[in-house]
Symmetry: C2
Subunit: 271 residues, 2 copies
């Protein structure tokens, strides 16, 4: 399907766009089923939060309307929204009156092997560490060189995802997923105050767990805690939940809480 | 003047470009006088180094040829080269056979007040701190949200530049300049192994100083060292050298070594 730029079909972008010049913008990757963008409110909420943190001025109602219209036209697949600060002249200073540019791209449904969800995955031990930047932590912004470098660390198909640590060695997330572990019945995921992307599926699973009476914890995670976990899984808003079977010399069984949350995620993504 | 994309006049970019998606690329900002790109070898050398560090495949001879041809057509001004990893499908994994995309943009000569160079400038004390990322440190890559946020901290014209510290409080650089200080006749600039952009003018001034028998030092710089400096200046490859008169409550005279290096920079940029 054609891309849209500011609501119009387009296949090209202004060379003055600050998304290109500085990665000055945000993005969302949204599963679309039956013409509906899934987990839409959470995607819009994260986007609005990112705009607020980066002082990007965007008409959020217009963004919502365009997302709905584009998803309806796409039908089935994965929609990518890029929101940049718009054009500017040379130099880091932005035009405070600039309106954000909206770019919508459609892709076919993600085609991951069914075994990832069924039998679980092995995580590649990325040596690329996430840097600490509280001003950007949690945002799905366009400055993603760390993920690009980390993803280039492995080419084999044995590893469906990679695990990224921060520079202090804390366990943070996958390259394109968030990570959860289960220990003594508590669902634990990393605190993203220093780095990391606060995923929409991560937020939804925390909400669903709390609603089901499953204790949750958002905190720093050490490699030792990972080692002693009862269950480990990764998640995102496109594939849902993949159990993690192994990471380096560590291994885990696919556990019952992972299966329960996987079923919940699947229901949300099959909507 | 029209921009060029991969050697052809163009005003738009593929929406699949990884420069837009992830800031997956590098740039150079080059002063052009009399149809010549100034400090060209240093710009090309930094670019090649960046390509090597990021594993971006680019035909460096072709880049040089296009820079020369574009500068000749531009005549006078500031040329910006953006080199991205090219197009890709959705996802961080790059196509290893992809060739870099070359984008050339022409701008008029920079028009800074003459007083910046003559009387010196005041630096804004940016609260945005540079994060530590040795894998990217020194590169002029396209992930520049820290600079965007820092530059948005001040709008007044009293401050011509801002000073950025790293998260440990070390003195690193300006938002769009490198910083030098002089103490007891030694020219000192920050070690950029953790963060910062290794500027072309910084490299040239270190070389020129060493060639003139001026002792140089590349090391960590504390705020206390800045306070006790005899002279302070900032530099880049477009404006040359600006003496720094003040930063927060600190102030310095415009010193003789600053003037000497400013004269050298001016000669290089008036070539």
């Amino acid at each position: 399907m054609d891309s849209w730029v500011d609501g119009q079909p387009a296949d090209a972008l202004s060379l003055k766009d600050r998304g290109l010049a500085y990665g000055d913008g945000l993005f969302e990757t949204i599963a679309v089923r039956g013409g509906q963008p899934l987990l839409l409110e959470r995607h819009l909420s994260r986007l609005a939060h990112g705009c607020s943190r980066l002082a990007i001025t965007a008409d959020q109602e217009l963004v919502r309307d365009e997302l709905l219209a584009y998803a309806a036209a796409l039908g089935e697949g994965v929609l990518k929204l890029i929101l940049t600060r718009g054009d500017s002249l040379r130099g880091y200073a932005a035009d405070p009156s600039a309106q954000a540019r909206r770019i919508l791209q459609g892709n076919p449904p993600a085609a991951y092997p069914a075994a990832h969800a069924e039998q679980g995955v092995r995580l590649f031990p990325c040596t690329t560490r996430l840097s600490k930047q509280p001003l950007l932590a949690g945002l799905k912004h366009l400055n993603r060189l760390e993920q690009v470098i980390a993803r280039a660390e492995w080419q084999d198909t044995e590893h469906a995802e990679g695990l990224m640590l921060d520079q202090a060695g804390r366990v943070i997330e996958g390259v394109f997923s968030n990570l959860f572990l289960v220990r003594d019945g508590v669902l634990i995921t990393a605190d993203l105050k220093r780095c990391g992307v606060a995923g929409v599926m991560r937020a939804e699973l925390l909400f669903q767990a709390e609603s089901s009476g499953i204790p949750t914890q958002v905190s720093d995670i050490t490699l030792e805690q990972l080692q002693w976990a009862d269950e480990v899984f990764v998640c995102n808003s496109v594939y849902g939940v993949w159990p993690v079977r192994a990471y380096a010399a560590l291994s885990w069984p696919v556990g019952p809480l992972t299966r329960k949350l996987q079923t919940i995620a699947r229901a949300l993504l099959d909507a």
